[in-house]
């Protein structure tokens, strides 16, 4: 019993920072409708800045000054980011905004690497709160008690601020109805910047408070952002109380899981302390099934995944058939012309082309947001690798991988299609994180963070060129299938449910089932890509299903051009080549990649192929006129 109470206190202490960061993200989303991936990076910067200030001064002033300075410095950075970048993309499609903020994640990560180095930095303990008090006969850190008090105090402070001040009034008004607030003459630019700064302050402040509890590391950004997404979605986007309640729920669930340790149930030993991530995401999935807008949220007007109006598709033209034939012939002759390294790189391109094309099926044709497509890639890879390790042959192993990802996409898809817009997209991310955390934490089966090594194809395909041809056959067939679907009745029905959901219902299409089918299909095809990937690399790690892999796929699709057939393939080729080139030429390739993505998002919001298409269309119009 006392153990339970102590775990409860532990959980509440952890909840405070999480609440601060989450409420920041939630406020920003409420007003600007931007899902800010970089919010975790601002949190990370908060920890690092607090560390630097605290260690520079080394006293109580340094520590508490550092906490405040971290908040202010991050808020200032937020203002710069908002004015220089976000302000230009408020009107852009939601997914483009998302990858723009992910580009910021890459840039900030490398900036932190440059400034603070790769080592974990352990901060000082909080002066005046270094001891422990005895609670129920157990020592409990006084700093944790302070955090609990601070969390509740911040909730009240923020509530009062938002209820009583003019700024708070404007913030609530803009969350409620942006256009109306604008029409009433409120300076939106200023309001957006101010809200963004406030959100960033909370992230930096929340991060700085964590300094005595955990060291500053470079992967804090994505770890916290996953937690924050979960909190915001459980609580309801834009809800202050929701963020608080959800932060407490999530932190308690984690604390109890750790407290439970190993428990034998139904004859099976469960290591609950290793199930924290899984538990958290299961809670989220359950909440969303019963409360699709979160505990305290109201439905939001969801912008469509893409605003690009596509021209009618019809049937493939003879020119398209001819181009396809030439393209396939060129692709097949590639190993004859270039060296082996090119074959390896081209194999990657093929795998990612299929991965991106399968995602394109969901976000383009079906018009649904997915932030977590790496789940299926990862399951395909792990399914195949585990089967191969268990002694299955090459082809059966591939089938195992695909079967695993198909099963997962059917199960996950069932939940996802019940939600809409941002909630659905965040749930897809949550499922991907469940997969990642199972793979990462289930050492005994998946090898944990080390992954699985020694997954080799049979003798024939150990030759790099032969493997390339195999990948061309398999991935090529997959990509062709993705393209083919677009022309079929199923593809039309999917586009119909995207173009106008009410009309699709009215002509008797069951939109939910169609979307579910799209999810399952795309998941299985993503699994094909993952399974081939495992054999092409020979070893895999949990990275195959991590957030960056999901975002990579989004970048490829959006870079190439959503709602274009060629887009995902072109995007995969450009992105893979770019990543390879950058990674070989600079240590800070992430930052450079991030900068390039940002630039592309701002200059070519329709993607490469999309931009070429609209350029030729406008040229045609001009010559016709």
């Amino acid at each position: 019993m006392t153990a339970l109470l102590v775990q409860t206190l532990n959980g509440l202490a952890a909840a405070s920072s999480l609440f601060l960061v989450a409420v920041g993200l939630s406020l920003i989303f409420g007003v600007t409708r931007i899902v800010n991936f970089a919010h975790g990076s601002f949190y990370m910067l908060g920890v690092y800045i607090a560390y630097s200030v605290a260690t520079y001064f080394g006293n109580a002033f340094g520590f508490w000054g550092g906490v405040l300075a971290a908040g202010v410095a991050v808020a200032l950075l937020g203002v710069i980011v908002e004015v220089a970048i976000l302000r230009r993309i408020y009107a852009a499609p939601e997914l483009l905004q998302l990858i723009a903020t992910f580009a910021l994640v890459l840039i900030i990560k490398d900036a932190a690497l440059y400034i603070w180095g790769p080592e974990d930095l352990l901060g000082p303990r909080a002066p005046g709160f270094t001891g422990a008090v005895e609670i129920f006969g157990r020592p409990f850190p006084t700093y944790d008690l302070l955090l609990i008090v601070l969390g509740v105090a911040m909730l009240f402070a923020l509530t009062t601020f938002i209820k009583r001040t003019r700024f708070g009034l404007l913030l609530r008004a803009a969350t409620e109805d942006r256009e109306m607030t604008d029409a009433l003459g409120v300076n939106q630019k200023l309001l957006f910047t101010a809200v963004f700064a406030l959100g960033c302050f909370l992230a930096g402040f929340g991060g700085a408070l964590q300094l005595p509890r955990e060291p500053a590391t470079l992967n804090m950004d994505l770890n916290i952002i996953a937690d924050v997404f979960v909190v915001v979605v459980i609580g309801g986007l834009g809800s202050l109380y929701g963020a608080f309640v959800a932060a407490v729920i999530i932190s308690l669930v984690k604390a109890y899981c750790i407290g439970l340790g190993n428990v034998a149930m139904f004859g099976v030993e469960f290591e609950f302390s290793k199930l924290t991530l899984v538990a958290e995401f299961i809670v989220m999935a359950l909440v969303l099934v019963f409360k699709p807008n979160g505990l305290f949220g109201r439905p939001f007007s969801h912008p469509r995944a893409s605003e690009v109006i596509e021209t009618p598709i019809g049937k493939p033209s003879n020119v398209q058939y001819a181009t396809l034939l030439v393209g396939l012939m060129l692709a097949a002759s590639l190993p004859l012309v270039f060296d082996e390294y090119t074959s390896v790189l081209a194999t990657d391109v093929l795998i990612f082309a299929l991965f991106a094309a399968s995602l394109g099926l969901i976000i383009g044709t079906a018009g649904l947001g997915s932030f977590g497509h790496a789940a299926y890639f990862g399951l395909g890879a792990y399914g195949a690798a585990l089967a191969a390790k268990a002694g299955f042959g090459f082809a059966p192993s591939l089938v195992c991988g695909v079967a695993l990802s198909l099963t997962a996409s059917i199960v996950f898809g069932w939940f996802c299609v019940r939600l809409s817009g941002t909630y659905m997209a965040m749930l897809t991310l949550a499922f991907a994180q469940i997969v990642w955390s199972i793979v990462f934490q289930w050492d005994a089966v998946t090898g944990g963070s080390n992954g699985i090594v020694g997954v080799w194809p049979p003798e024939l395909f150990s030759d790099r060129d032969n493997f390339y041809w195999l990948a061309l056959a398999l991935c090529g067939a997959g990509v062709l299938f993705c393209w083919w679907i677009v022309y079929t009745p199923l593809g039309y029905a999917l586009r119909a449910s995207r173009d106008s959901q009410v009309k699709a219902h009215a002509i008797g299409l069951s939109v939910m089932r169609l979307q579910w089918a799209a999810f399952a299909l795309a998941g299985a095809l993503g699994g094909v890509a993952g399974a081939i990937y495992a054999f092409s690399k020979g070893s895999i790690s949990p990275d195959v299903s991590a957030i960056p892999r999901s975002v990579d796929a989004l970048v490829m699709v959006l870079l190439g051009g959503i709602n274009t057939l060629l887009g995902p393939v072109v995007g995969a080729a450009v992105f893979t080549w770019l990543q390879d080139t950058l990674a070989r030429s600079t240590e800070y390739w992430r930052a450079v990649l991030g900068a390039i993505i940002l630039l592309l998002v701002m200059v070519f919001p329709k993607g490469i192929v999309g931009s070429i298409q609209s350029l030729t269309a406008s040229m045609k119009k001009r010559s016709a006129a």
Binding site: A496, K503, A504, H505, I507
Partner: protein, 249 residues
């Protein structure tokens, strides 16, 4: 004879506000019935209770004697109910013909096929329907380029693709020019007669209502206050009171 559409004791409240307070009426096959009333009368709610957008608190909706209350829009489509929207809803990234073809595929249960081209499905039948509504010359144009009046006609063609027994039209002529209005309503009335389908429409324009409806149902404050032939409704005291100030009645 069993009426095509039979509404019995239909009720619906939103929170504490009763929008539809228990109404009964019916529509026969081959008959065009207009549902009218001033703003806030409850006609849109009533319409949405029939087309499956809303679920009634009480009462029933029957189609040729078959209870179809609270069925989903998809299920209603299968039962032979078609509808057009007040604000046109079409599939903007498809051509005019493809819009009709998709409705035909759905009607024939082939909308989830994956081994054929969508544009090869029911092309001839789609052209017949487009010809019926006078859109044959526009069939290959992207829907997004269509003029508003043409979109309305396309909606009618899409609705007819279902071979409906009951056609529900919500404000069919809203946003159209006077000439276009008559054209569209004449078209709707023709199919109603030829195919013996029951037509129920809501409408703001009294000229259209009195010109094309066989029977008019008048709602006010959630209740049915009058129904009958146009001349009967025109002469009704209560209707005059409700529409006082309106020059049309």
């Amino acid at each position: 004879m069993t009426p095509a559409l039979d509404i019995l004791g239909l009720k619906k409240s939103f929170g504490g506000v009763a929008a539809v307070k228990g109404i009964d009426f019916n529509v026969n096959a081959g008959e065009a019935v207009a549902l009218i009333g001033p703003n806030g009368a409850g006609k849109t709610t009533c319409f949405n209770l029939i087309n499956g957008q809303l679920k009634p608190d009480a009462g029933s909706v029957s189609l040729f004697g078959e209870n179809i209350t609270s069925r989903s829009p998809e299920a209603l489509f299968r039962a032979g109910v078609a509808r057009t929207f007040q604000i046109t809803a079409t599939f903007a990234t498809m051509t005019v013909r493809e819009n009709v073809q998709l409705a035909l595929m759905s009607h024939n249960g082939s909308a989830t096929k994956v081994f054929c081209f969508a544009t090869s499905q029911h092309a001839a039948r789609a052209d017949v329907l487009l010809n019926d509504v006078g859109l044959q010359s526009q069939s290959s144009r992207p829907c997004a380029e269509l003029a508003y009046g043409d979109l309305k006609r396309l909606e009618l063609a899409v609705a007819l693709a279902n071979d409906p027994r009951l056609l529900l039209m919500d404000e069919p002529t809203a946003g159209m020019s006077p000439q276009e209005r008559d054209g569209l309503m004449q078209l709707a009335l023709t199919v109603c007669r030829e195919r013996k389908l029951a037509l129920l429409f809501t409408e703001h324009d009294m000229d259209v209502v009195f010109k094309f409806a066989d029977r008019i149902i008048v709602m006010n404050r959630g209740r049915l206050i009058a129904q009958g032939r146009p001349d009967e409704v025109r002469a009704n005291e209560e209707v005059r009171k409700v529409y006082l100030g309106s020059t049309h009645v």
